[in-house]
Every structure is written in structure tokens, then in C-alpha cells.
């Protein structure tokens, strides 16, 4: 529900921001190769092609961000010789996946405030802790969150480089790892001129699971009681069948 809401709000905001700059909007046209990534049991990761054209020069930045959720970061501590989860901090609006591609290093393109306004780049991501988290802890836990995401290839460390052909056409491949989270994604393309976002375009992307495993997962989460009753019936049948097969010999 909240994911869908976030996506909706983001799309509306993106549409508004385009509407406010009608002249600049035509300076950037972008699209993606695929609006649906389906994860089946043999899925080992994939690449998404983002391509488009710009008019009148400038730099291009592509941001792919996954569904946003609240995430709890927990830190283990040694208590009576055992490592247990002790301190924790909750962060809101954490994208499950976040990748950036740009024609030039982000810090050369725009001031931090501008990057932060559009949430471009890890430094620009507005990840805020719940009010009960103090500042020193927030810094430590936010670093840990980003590091864990990077280790899992969900926040790719090296930004992909975008080449612009003939000053007009651009294309870039964004890699997705095998365990990419499901949900609604946003692919945002920005045209940056003189340190400011001159134009932006947003394409929605859906990542979902397909096949038998996904159906079973859906069923288990949507109809828990029925799933449980069927699991018990299956186990009873398996137990009795096994007994029947081997009793004769």
C-alpha cells in the first residue's frame, strides 16, 4: 500500500516538475528497454537498457530506485559472551535498490543541494532516521545500512558511465543482481545544465516474481490459514503413503 502510494506520489511529482518546465522538457527524451522484469526460478540477474536523446547539450544522469520501505538497522553487541542484537535504528523511505549512471562524476555536475533536492546519488539520498535516534548513532547506522546494501549489490558502488553519441543520443545498461527486490521501481533521467536540473523524465518499472515459487509465496502470504491446512494434509498423506509403500517389503 505504502509502496504504491510512494510510487504514485513520485510519478505525480515528476509529472508536475515536467509540467512546470514545458520548454525544457523537450530537451530530454528517455525510455527503458523493458517495463517489467520477471524473476523466475532460473533468474540470475539482468540488465536494463536506458536510452534517449538530448537537445542542446548538457549532462545526463539516470537514477533507478526500488520500492521504498522503513528499514531497521540492528547492531550486535556482546552480552554475557554471546553476540546479540542490541542497538537499532529505524530509517524511513529506504529504497530497496538504488543505482546511478551519469556522463560525468556527480560532484562535478551539480552542487550537493541540487543533488539532494532530486535525490541523485547516494550522497543525495534523503534517508532520515526516526526522531528517537541520536545524531552520532544515525551516522554510524546509516553508513552500515549503505555498506550492507552495497555488499548485496543492491546499491552498486561504481556509478555506470553514460556515453553520449554525437552530442545527442545516450544509452546505458543498469545491472540488476539475482536477488533484486520485487516491487515498483522508478527510472528517472535527468538533464543537467550549469549545475541545475534542466529537464527530467520518469519511467515506471515493475519487478515481480514469476513461476510456481512466486505463486506459492503469494498464496502463503495471502491465504495463510488455507496454506497451513493444505501443508498439514500434504504431510499426513506423505507420511501415510510412505508407510504404505514400505510396509509390504
Amino acid at each position: 500500500m505504502t509502496r504504491a502510494l510512494h510510487t504514485f506520489v513520485a510519478i505525480v511529482l515528476a509529472a508536475l516538475s515536467l509540467g512546470m518546465r514545458p520548454a525544457a522538457a523537450q530537451d530530454l527524451i528517455a525510455d527503458i528497454s523493458n517495463h517489467l522484469i520477471s524473476i523466475t526460478s532460473d533468474f540470475t540477474g539482468t540488465e536494463l537498457l536506458v536510452f534517449g536523446a538530448i537537445e542542446g547539450g548538457g549532462d545526463v544522469v539516470v537514477v533507478v530506485s526500488g520500492p521504498r520501505d522503513s528499514v531497521i538497522v540492528r547492531k550486535k553487541d556482546r552480552v554475557f559472551g554471546i553476540w546479540i542484537n542490541a542497538e537499532s535504528a529505524e530509517f524511513d523511505n529506504v529504497p530497496a535498490f538504488y543505482a546511478v549512471a551519469a556522463t560525468n562524476p556527480l560532484e562535478e555536475l551539480a552542487a550537493p543541494e541540487q543533488l539532494r533536492l532530486y535525490e541523485i546519488g547516494l550522497a543525495g539520498l534523503r534517508l532520515e532516521a526516526e526522531p528517537d535516534v541520536d545524531e552520532a548513532q544515525e551516522v554510524e547506522f546509516l553508513d552500515a545500512l549503505i555498506q550492507l546494501k552495497q555488499e548485496n549489490e543492491l546499491y552498486p558502488t561504481a556509478p555506470q558511465h553514460i556515453d553520449v553519441v554525437g552530442g545527442r543520443l545516450f544509452r546505458v545498461k543498469i545491472p540488476f543482481p539475482a536477488d533484486v527486490p520485487v516491487g515498483s521501481y522508478l527510472v528517472q533521467s535527468f538533464l543537467i545544465r550549469d549545475g541545475l536540473v534542466a529537464s527530467a523524465q520518469t519511467s515506471p518499472l515493475v519487478v515481480n516474481k514469476g513461476g510456481f515459487g512466486a505463486d506459492l509465496y503469494e498464496f502463503a502470504h495471502a491465504e495463510g490459514e488455507l496454506y497451513g491446512i493444505l501443508a498439514v494434509l500434504g504431510a499426513v498423506m506423505a507420511g501415510l503413503l510412505g508407510n504404505l509403500l514400505f510396509r509390504r517389503s
Binding site: 538497522v73 545500512l145 490459514e225 497451513g228
Partner: protein
Amino acid sequence: MFQIYLPIAEMSVDIFLLLGMGGVVGFLSGLFGVGGGFLMTPLLIFIGVPPPVAVGSEVNQVVAASVSGFMAHWRRRQVDFKMGVVLLSGGTLGSAFGVWLFGFLRDLGQINLVISISYVVMLGSIGTLMMVESVRTIVRRRRGTTARKKAHVHNWAHGLPFKMRFRTSRLYISAILPVGLGFVVGVLASLMGVGGGFLLVPAMIYLLGMPVSVVIGTSLFQITFVTAVATILHSANTQTVDVVLAGLLTLGAVIGAQFGTRVGAELRGEELRGLLALVVLGVCATLLWRLINEPSTLFSLSVVGLH
């Protein structure tokens, strides 16, 4: 090689590894007449299955492992159904409480810890008791003496109120005892994914004073139904039951148990029991090591509201 995707555990595992684990634990359970849940859950944790899913799936597998034994004892009229139903009333409450506690601990971020510590305590005590028992029996046999069996004695338990008559067991005891015992075993089933026979059987003999002839059948009755209840409650509340995982383990276990039963009939008990005690203590030590060894990363992430 032949990876299979476990939809609830959300991971891929070699199908033959699961069948093999099911087979080995099934063999051991056939050999010793134990359920095997207390070995399977830690093994699943060792291969990387999230502890909550290991518990939820194993409790489902125990249904399959105990139902045929229950049916066999039923055919031989070795089940005290009245006692079973009283145990089960406590067991249902206990398993509901266990599932609630499970969800509560998961929200706190402590479920993995509690599962591991519970197993360390349980395997440590079972392993030690089994080891002592088998060494004592071996020493006694070498000396050529036999142990004196203590007759059923009256104890504090006989002073409790709400007495009930159990004709099949030829008992007139307070219902509080079996209800309480069922409750404890129900909690263990939900929290640890075990049938609880290791606790139930001695308690039925020594605490309730039931005749040995109906103890196994009645305990299997209770285990089958309590694990069934725990499976449904876990499916409804914690979504940790992976039927693909449970099914593969059952397939391996059914085959392994057949060989175990046959081998067990030909071999002497004490040495084997000592060996099982070693396995149990080894699993216990590994779990303990994982708790006290400094983890490679101190931080972990969990998404709020998404289980």
C-alpha cells in the same frame, strides 16, 4: 548442481543435499525411535535457511514423520485417547502461545537468538543425559549387574485438584498435570519445530505414571496433532512454513527411516545411543560456537512490516 528454489525461505539449495539430510536424520530416527526434529532444525540453520523458516518447515515435517507411527499404534490399540485429548488441549494453548511469542520475538529482532539458545540448552541437556545413560548401561553390562527398576511412587503431583479417571492408562490423576505438560510441549513445537517426544515420553512415564505400553502411541497422537496445529498457526501468523522444503525432507526421511528401523533391530543399543549422544553434543557445540564467535558483520537489516 540441481538447485531447487525454496519459495518461503527465498533461497536456492541443492536438492540432493536436502534429500540426503532428510535421509540421514530419518535413518537416525528409525534407528533410535526418535522424532528427529531436534537434529533437523539446527542442520537447516547450518546450511543457511533462516532460523524462523527452519522451525516453521520442520514442524510441518514432524506431522508427516509422526502420523504413520500414530496410526500403527492406533491399530494395536496402544493409544489412550482420553489422555491424548487432555494433553492436546494444553498442547493447543501452548502452541498458540508459542506462535505468538515467536512473532513477538521476531519483531524485537531476537527470534534467531532465542531459537539458537533454546537449542543449545535442549541439545546440551539431552546429549549429556543420553551419554551418561549409555555409559552407565555399558559399565553395568560389563560388570554383569542389572539395574533395579523403581516401582511407581506417589509424589506431590497426586495432591493436586481436578482429578480425572483415565481408564486405558488405569490412572486417577489431576488433569492439571497432562494439560501443563501438553502446554510446555506445545510451546516447544511452535518455538523450536520439534515434536517434543524426548520430553513427553519420560514425563508421561515418570510424572504421570502411565503404563509404558500406551506411552509411545499416546505421545505420537499428541505430537501429530500439536505439530499440525502449530503448522496452521505458523502459516497464518508468521508465514514461515516452506512446503517445498518440508516435502523434500519428508521424502528423504521416509526412505531413511525404513533402513534405520531395520538396522536398529539388529544392532545393540547402548553404543549406538552413545554415538547419537555425540552427534547431539556436536550439533550443540556448533550452535554455541556460532553464538559466541564474533560475526563478520555486526549489522543486519530488516524491513518493517514485511516478513
